[in-house]
């Protein structure tokens, strides 16, 4: 075997580590995950409170509070989703 091909294989092995994808989430992915978690918590709280209100154990103030909170959360999520979809369509329309 040619010595140069061995060197090339070694160089390739050394470079692959540098170009490998980083598995740990970066800052943006973490913050998006956090936002989605809080969104989910707001919806779950609304679920629980409306069930309690229908069963007669929660007061109407808690129900209104939970509903307003989840309404705002859903509105924010829908707006962000619309923006993302819009950006994706913009990329699709890009001439290659």
């Amino acid at each position: 075997m040619d010595i140069r091909s061995i060197f090339a294989a070694q160089k390739y092995a050394a470079t692959r580590a540098a170009t490998a994808a980083t598995p740990q989430p970066d800052g943006m992915a973490a913050s998006v995950g956090e936002t989605i978690n809080s969104f989910q918590q707001a919806l779950q709280m609304t679920d629980r409170t409306s069930q309690d209100a229908l069963a007669g154990t929660a007061d109407p103030h808690a129900l209104v509070h939970a509903l307003a909170q989840s309404e705002l959360a859903v509105e924010a999520a829908v707006t962000v989703r619309n923006k993302v979809v819009e950006a994706y369509q913009e990329i699709l329309r890009m001439p290659i």
Binding site: D59, H61, A62, V64, H65, A68, Q69, E71, L72, E75, A76, T79, V80, N82, K83
Partner: protein, 126 residues
Amino acid sequence: MSEFASALSTTTSALRLQANRIRMISENLANTDTPGYRRKIAPVRLAQDGATVSLGPVQLDQTVLEQVFDPSHPLADGTGHYDGSNVNLMIEIADAREAQRSYEANLKIFDQTRQMSSELMGLLRR
């Protein structure tokens, strides 16, 4: 929790407080003619988180009971008097009106907070 969310929870606690207040006032008003009834009062308390409010423990007003002259009443003593309640209608009505006004103010703030948050998200919409 965002500022809007914490504003909403503070306002909700104030709404609940005023609802409790009006409940207590209605109890006082309903017992105006109950012999020996002392009107209930409760202080407003700031919660541990420093933002929400709640009603403290109920106390009984220790002012002297009204002496009602009615010799035919079963509770009447030797002089023909018995202990009435110390509920003053004027004070209760004024308290009820104050609770109502405060409730309305908090409702307005609740609505305004919701509108502000919704308008902020509306900026992203075209």
